[in-house]
């Protein structure tokens, strides 16, 4: 299906151009997306709740703004007024009267809110699977996982069931599905986008950000979320004077085809004028331990208000993590936070005079839905550990990351993280735009 025959497959920038030229109305665009949801959501399971009538009503008289008439989906961890928030939990529900601050920004910019998107249970997962609500499926191959926990927002965006999605990222929940679904995902600097109205998972990691099909679209949605006047990215693609570091510890831990793709990307960026060097941060070997300890404890505390009354409703895996986190001594948590200080210091030194670091998003392409272990570099690794291996380490710093597609294997996409200093999103997006100019991932199979 071409974008010209199905408006649902237009990028945001294309749709805005079409609407400005009066060749397309917000109502026609929203109807096209809703039709696609009706046709494909039974297969993909990207939405837990669709507000068909609300979306059509909003599209009839769209609010003016930089996203006027653009249909967007919201991860069901984030409050939307008059829609249920389930957080992907079993029989856990709140009915907010107000939008989360991030959703209010999108609505204020004219976005049409389509509904609530699939998530791992309470966002405490990285694979897009959910035993209460069913698994979300990868539009590039529905037998494979899509990554999570912003699974529905990613799948909807990749498959034309929304033009962009709102996600959250604690240990990698925007970047993992962006990688496995072939999207652009932005984990903003911690604190840049409000978390008000979002069900928390781990306070020292949680970030809210966009998933989009292009860098330009992601930049526009991020500007809106951050409350900034949207400014178009300059035309790519020269990168003269830009200094990039290959984060070798993580690149060498990924499958060889991922490593090759990132090195080829680096060579391409060099041809545009960038200077590329290799950097290492040996303390990254401790990142998994730091992350596990901190997230267990913070998640247990975040769930404490309702956990005792509702613990039988959780899946075994999530309940066990919350129980372990509740019992872990404070000394372990503080030891991990001390080690985190050392790790962030080392990453800061690795960044040194550089503008950005490059590292894999996921060490491999999307595995099959039923898989619990994967092989990476010849070693069998639990799926969860593998998916987190390149993402959770970067969450430790609270730095911004723009995740973009970097390659395909057997038609399945995989991504790269472009990591920068706090509040350097703009520069990262410009690097991403230059890369996107050279490498387009193409649409999902559906």
């Amino acid at each position: 299906v071409s974008a010209t025959s199905d408006p649902a497959l237009l990028t945001i920038a294309q749709a805005l151009d079409e609407m400005r030229a009066r060749r397309l109305s917000a109502l026609e665009l929203t109807e096209a997306v809703l039709n696609r949801i009706e046709r494909l959501n039974p297969t993909l399971n990207a939405y837990l709740h669709v507000d068909h009538e609300g979306a059509l009503n909003a599209a009839r008289t769209p609010h003016p703004g930089p996203l006027s008439g653009i249909p967007i989906c919201i991860k069901d961890l984030v409050d939307v007024a008059a829609m249920p928030t389930t957080a992907g939990g079993k029989d856990w529900r709140r009915d907010p009267h107000e939008d989360a601050a991030s959703v209010a920004k999108l609505r204020g910019a004219g976005a049409i809110i389509l509904g609530k998107a699939h998530t791992n249970e309470f966002a405490y997962g990285i694979d897009g699977r959910n035993e209460h609500w069913g698994n979300c499926r990868n539009p590039h191959d529905v037998t494979r996982i899509c990554g999570g926990s912003s699974s529905g927002s990613a799948v909807a965006t990749a498959a034309g069931l929304a033009l962009a999605g709102l996600g959250t990222d604690t240990a990698g929940s925007i970047r993992a599905p962006a990688s496995l679904c072939g999207l652009v995902g932005v984990r903003p600097t911690l604190g840049l986008v409000s978390r008000d109205g979002v069900v928390p998972l781990a306070w020292s990691y949680d970030a809210v950000g966009p998933l989009a099909r292009t860098v330009k679209d992601a930049a526009l949605v991020l500007d809106v979320l951050a409350g900034r006047q949207p400014t178009p990215l300059p035309p790519p693609p020269r990168l003269d004077g830009v200094r990039l570091g290959l984060l070798e510890d993580l690149i060498e831990a990924a499958e060889p085809y991922v490593e090759s793709a990132i090195r080829e990307m680096a060579a391409s960026l060099q041809s545009l004028g960038a200077h590329v060097v290799s950097v290492r941060a040996g303390l990254l070997r401790h990142a998994g331990a730091i992350h596990q300890i901190v997230q267990h404890v913070e998640a247990a505390q975040a769930h404490r208000p309702w956990f005792d009354a509702q613990r039988e409703r959780y899946s075994d895996a999530v309940r066990r993590r919350l129980e372990v986190g509740r019992l872990l001594p404070a000394s372990a948590y503080l030891t991990a936070q001390q080690a985190r200080t050392l790790l962030v210091g080392e990453l800061t030194r690795a960044m040194g005079p550089l503008d950005a670091l490059l590292a894999p998003s996921t060490p491999m392409v999307a595995p099959l839905q039923e898989v619990e272990e994967v092989t990476v570099r010849g070693a069998r690794i639990p799926l969860r550990a593998a998916l987190l291996s390149c993402l959770a380490p970067i969450s430790q710093a609270g730095w911004p990351v723009v995740a973009v597609p970097v390659g395909r294997l057997l038609g399945l996409p995989f991504g790269v993280q472009i990591i920068g200093r706090p509040r350097s999103e703009r520069g990262l997006l410009e690097i991403a735009a230059a890369w996107e100019h050279l490498f387009a991932i193409g649409p999902a199979a559906l």
Partner: protein
């Protein structure tokens, strides 16, 4: 560092103190998880942490 068997008693005691009722099967699963994290914490204690402020500490105003 406690293995799962050693962690069972610790876990049962901590669970009682925290008001968590755990069946025998669940107690064992939680004890395993606790033992794993305590082992990770012990590994981190090998780092030069003396005098290091935990992340998430006071804001820096400079």
């Amino acid at each position: 560092m406690p293995g799962v068997e050693d962690a069972l008693e610790l876990t049962a005691s901590l669970a009682r103190a925290n008001g968590l009722e755990l069946s025998r099967e669940r107690l064992r699963a939680v004890a395993q998880g606790l033992a794993d994290l305590l082992e990770m914490a012990a590994g981190l204690e090998e780092l030069p942490l003396e005098g290091v402020e935990p992340a998430g500490g006071p804001p820096r105003w400079e």
